[in-house]
C-alpha cells in the first residue's frame, strides 16, 4: 500500500526486548505476595504489552484514519460484550429471594 511506512528492524527488536522484560517482571512479581496488588500489577503489565504489540508490531502507531477506526470498533464491540454481560452478572442479587407464605423452607437459602 502506498501509505505503508517502512519500519526499521531496530524498532521491532526493541519492542521484542521490551515484551520479554515485561514478561520477566510479570513472572517475578508473581513470587512476591501483594494480595490484590498481584492481580492489578499483572493486568497493568498485560495492558502495556498489548499496547506495544498493537502500536509497533501491528503498525497502529504509524497508521491513521480508517485503520485506527477499525481497531476502535473492535474495542467498542468488546465493550458491548462485557458491559451487557455484566448487566446480568452484577445484578443477580437484586431480585429479592421469595420467602413464601408458609414456614421458612429451603427458598431462603438463595443467593445473599
Amino acid at each position: 500500500m502506498a501509505s505503508a511506512k517502512i519500519v526499521p528492524v531496530r524498532t521491532y527488536i526493541l519492542t521484542f526486548i521490551a515484551l520479554l522484560v515485561l514478561l520477566g517482571v510479570t513472572t517475578g512479581v508473581a513470587y512476591i505476595h501483594l494480595g490484590i496488588g498481584n492481580t492489578v500489577i499483572a493486568l497493568v503489565i498485560a495492558f502495556v504489552k498489548m499496547l506495544l504489540v498493537l502500536l509497533f508490531f501491528m503498525h497502529l502507531f504509524y497508521d491513521k484514519g480508517i485503520k485506527r477506526l477499525a481497531f476502535a470498533v473492535g474495542l467498542l464491540w468488546l465493550a458491548i460484550l462485557i458491559v451487557l454481560s455484566s448487566a446480568d452478572v452484577f445484578t443477580r442479587h437484586w431480585t429479592p429471594v421469595p420467602r413464601g407464605w408458609g414456614p421458612d423452607i429451603s427458598l431462603q437459602q438463595g443467593p445473599k
Partner: protein
C-alpha cells in the same frame, strides 16, 4: 435458424465457464464467479444432508411414541440438522454464492480485492464440512446446534470435538469472506460508482460483512473455551471449578443472535433487487433501506439476552434485553414498509423471482412479529423452548433467507449460466414451496402455543394431528425444493439462451454478457446514474 446462430455465437464466445476446462482449472481458480459456483455446489450438497436429517425427524414425529428412531438418535438428528443448516448452508448461502458472484460485477470490478483469499475461504469451508461429515459418519453429536454447557463440556458422550472443530473452522471461512467483501466495496468500485449509487444488495452485504468480522471470532473463542473445559478441565463454565454457568450462553448468543442477521441481511439485499427489478422502480426510500441495514447490524449485538430469559439470568438483564430486542423491529419495519411502498402502483410483473420476493415479504413479517412475542418477558416464559420458537425462526430462516436465496438464484441464474429456466415450472415450484412451507411450520406455532416442547423424540397423543399436518407439509416442501434442482440443472444444457439482460433490469451486472467474460467487463464501466434508474412513468396518463 436465428436461434442456431445465437447458439453458435455463445458457444464461440469465450466466457468464464469455457475459458478453461478440467478439475484443476476449477480447484485452483481465483475467479470470484467460479468460486461462487464451487460454493453453490458445496452448500447444495450440505443442504441435502441437513434436509435428510429433517426428513427423518418429521417421519419420527408422525407418531406420538416416535415412529422410527431411538431418542438418542433423534437428538443427533436435530443437532446435525441445525449445525449443517446454520453454518454450512444459510450463513454461506447468499454471501458466498450470490455475493461472491455479484459484488464485483455490481460495483464494476474485475474480481474481489483478494482473489486467493477468496479461494482459501472455500477450502476452509470444505475442511470444516469434512469434520462435520466425519462426525456424522462416526456416530454424530447430540448437544443440539447450540453446544450448551455443561452438557457439551461434561456429560455428552458423542463426538462433540468433531462437530465443534468443524464449526470453529468454518467460522474462519466466514471471517475471510467478510473481510474480502469489506475491502472490495471500499477499494474496487468503478469510476463514478459512489456510495449512494451502490445497489442495495451491496449495502446489505457490506453490513453483513461487518457483522461476520466482528461476531465470528467470539464463536471461535466460545468453542475453544468449551473445549478447554471439556478436555483440560479448566473451570470456565462449571461453577464447581470456578466458572460461571451462564457465561457460555452469553458468549454463544453474542455471536449467534447477530448470526441471525448474517443470514437475513443478505436476504434483505436480494429482496431489494428483486422488488426494484419486477416493479420497474427505484426502491422507495433508498437511503433509509441502506442505513437500516447498519441499524440492524448494530442492534443485533445488543439483544442476545432474549435467548436467556428463563436461564437464570438476572431479572434486570432480562428487562434490558427485552426492551432492546423490540428496537430491532424498527429497521426491519422500515425495510418491509419501503418494499411495500415500492410495489404500490409499480409496473409489477410476477415472474418466479418476484413470487419468491412476495413470499419473503409475508413470511418474514410473520416471523418478525412472532419474534416480538418472544421478546416479551412474560410471554417468553410460556413459549420458551417450545415449537413456537421453532416455527418463529424457521419463518425467518426458511421463509425469509431461503426464499430470498431461491429468488436470487432464479433472478441471476441467466447471468451465471447464460440460460433461462422454464418459467412455468419455476412459478409452480415457488407456489409449492410457499404452500409446503406454511403447512410445515404454521401448525408448529399452534403446537408451541399449546405447550409442545422442542427437541423431544416423543410427545403426548393430543398433538398428533398437528404433527402429521406438519410432516405432510414437509414432504410438499421437499418436492418444492426438488423441482428447481431438476430444472435448473436441465436448463444448463437445454435452456433457452438468455442474452445479456433477459429481465431488462438495471444494474452493472446486466450490462455485460451472460455468462460474463473472465474479467467481467470488456472495459471498465463508468457509472453515471443512480441505482435502479428505471424510466419514470408519466404521471397524468390516468384517464
Amino acid at each position: 435458424m436465428s436461434v442456431a446462430v445465437a447458439e453458435l455465437a455463445t458457444r464461440s464466445r469465450v466466457h468464464y465457464l469455457n475459458e478453461s476446462y478440467g478439475v484443476k482449472s476449477w480447484l485452483l481458480t481465483t475467479d470470484h464467479k467460479r468460486i461462487a459456483i464451487l460454493y453453490m455446489v458445496s452448500i447444495t450438497f450440505m443442504f441435502l444432508v441437513g434436509a435428510c436429517a429433517a426428513a427423518l425427524m418429521r417421519i419420527q414425529l408422525l407418531e406420538p411414541a416416535g415412529a422410527i428412531v431411538q431418542p438418542e438418535t433423534y437428538n443427533k438428528l436435530f443437532s446435525i440438522h441445525g449445525i449443517i443448516m446454520v453454518w454450512f448452508f444459510l450463513i454461506p448461502s447468499i454471501p458466498a454464492v450470490l455475493g461472491n458472484f455479484l459484488i464485483p460485477m455490481m460495483i464494476g470490478a474485475r474480481d474481489v480485492a483478494f482473489p486467493k483469499l477468496n479461494l482459501l475461504s472455500w477450502y476452509i469451508y470444505i475442511i470444516g464440512a469434512c469434520f462435520i461429515l466425519y462426525t456424522l459418519i462416526y456416530g454424530g453429536v447430540d448437544t443440539g446446534w447450540t453446544f450448551y454447557t455443561p452438557y457439551s463440556s461434561t456429560y455428552s458422550n458423542s463426538h462433540v470435538f468433531g462437530a465443534a472443530a468443524g464449526v470453529f473452522i468454518v467460522g474462519f471461512s466466514s471471517i475471510l469472506t467478510g473481510l474480502n467483501f469489506i475491502v472490495t466495496v471500499h477499494k474496487m468500485r468503478a469510476p463514478g460508482m459512489t456510495w449512494f449509487r451502490l445497489p442495495l444488495f451491496i449495502w446489505s452485504l457490506y453490513a453483513t460483512s461487518i457483522v461476520l468480522v466482528l461476531a465470528t471470532p467470539v464463536l471461535a473463542i466460545t468453542l475453544s473455551l468449551m473445549a478447554m473445559e471439556r478436555f483440560l478441565h479448566i473451570g470456565i463454565f462449571n461453577p464447581a471449578i470456578g466458572g460461571d454457568p451462564l457465561l457460555f450462553q452469553h458468549l454463544f448468543w453474542f455471536y449467534s443472535h447477530p448470526a441471525v442477521y448474517i443470514m437475513v441481511l443478505p436476504a434483505m439485499g436480494v429482496i431489494s433487487e428483486l422488488v426494484a427489478a419486477y416493479s420497474r422502480r427505484r426502491v422507495y426510500g433508498y437511503a433509509f433501506v441502506a442505513f437500516s441495514s447498519f441499524a440492524i447490524a448494530l442492534i443485533a449485538f445488543l439483544v442476545w439476552g432474549h435467548h436467556m430469559f428463563v436461564s437464570g439470568q438476572s431479572v434486570y438483564a432480562g428487562m434490558v434485553f427485552s426492551a432492546l430486542s423490540f428496537l430491532v423491529a424498527i429497521p426491519s419495519g422500515i425495510k418491509v414498509f419501503n418494499w411495500t411502498a415500492t410495489l404500490y402502483k409499480g409496473s409489477n410483473s410476477y415472474d418466479a423471482p418476484m413470487l419468491y420476493a412476495l413470499g419473503f415479504l409475508g413470511l418474514f413479517t410473520m416471523g418478525g412479529l412472532t419474534g416480538l412475542f418472544l421478546a416479551s418477558l412474560s410471554i417468553d416464559v410460556h413459549l420458551h423452548d417450545t415449537y413456537f420458537v421453532i416455527a418463529h425462526f424457521h419463518y425467518i430462516m426458511v421463509g425469509g433467507s431461503v426464499m430470498a436465496y431461491m429468488g436470487g438464484l432464479h433472478y441471476w441464474w441467466p447471468k451465471m449460466t447464460g440460460r433461462l429456466y422454464p418459467d412455468k415450472w419455476a412459478r409452480f415450484a415457488a407456489f409449492t414451496i410457499f404452500i409446503g412451507f406454511n403447512l410445515t411450520f404454521f401448525p408448529q406455532y399452534i403446537l408451541g402455543y399449546l405447550g409442545m416442547l422442542r427437541r423431544y423424540a416423543v410427545y403426548p397423543a393430543q398433538f398428533q394431528a398437528l404433527n402429521v399436518l406438519s410432516s405432510a407439509g414437509a414432504s410438499i416442501l421437499g418436492v418444492g425444493y426438488f423441482i428447481p434442482l431438476v430444472y435448473l440443472i436441465w436448463s444448463m444444457r437445454y435452456g433457452r439462451e438468455a442474452g445479456p439482460n433477459p429481465w431488462r433490469a438495471k444494474g452493472l451486472e446486466w450490462e455485460t454478457a451472460s455468462p460474463p467474460p473472465r474479467e467481467n467487463f470488456e472495459e471498465t464501466p463508468i457509472v453515471t446514474e443512480e441505482a435502479y434508474a428505471y424510466p419514470t412513468r408519466p404521471r397524468a396518463v390516468r384517464v
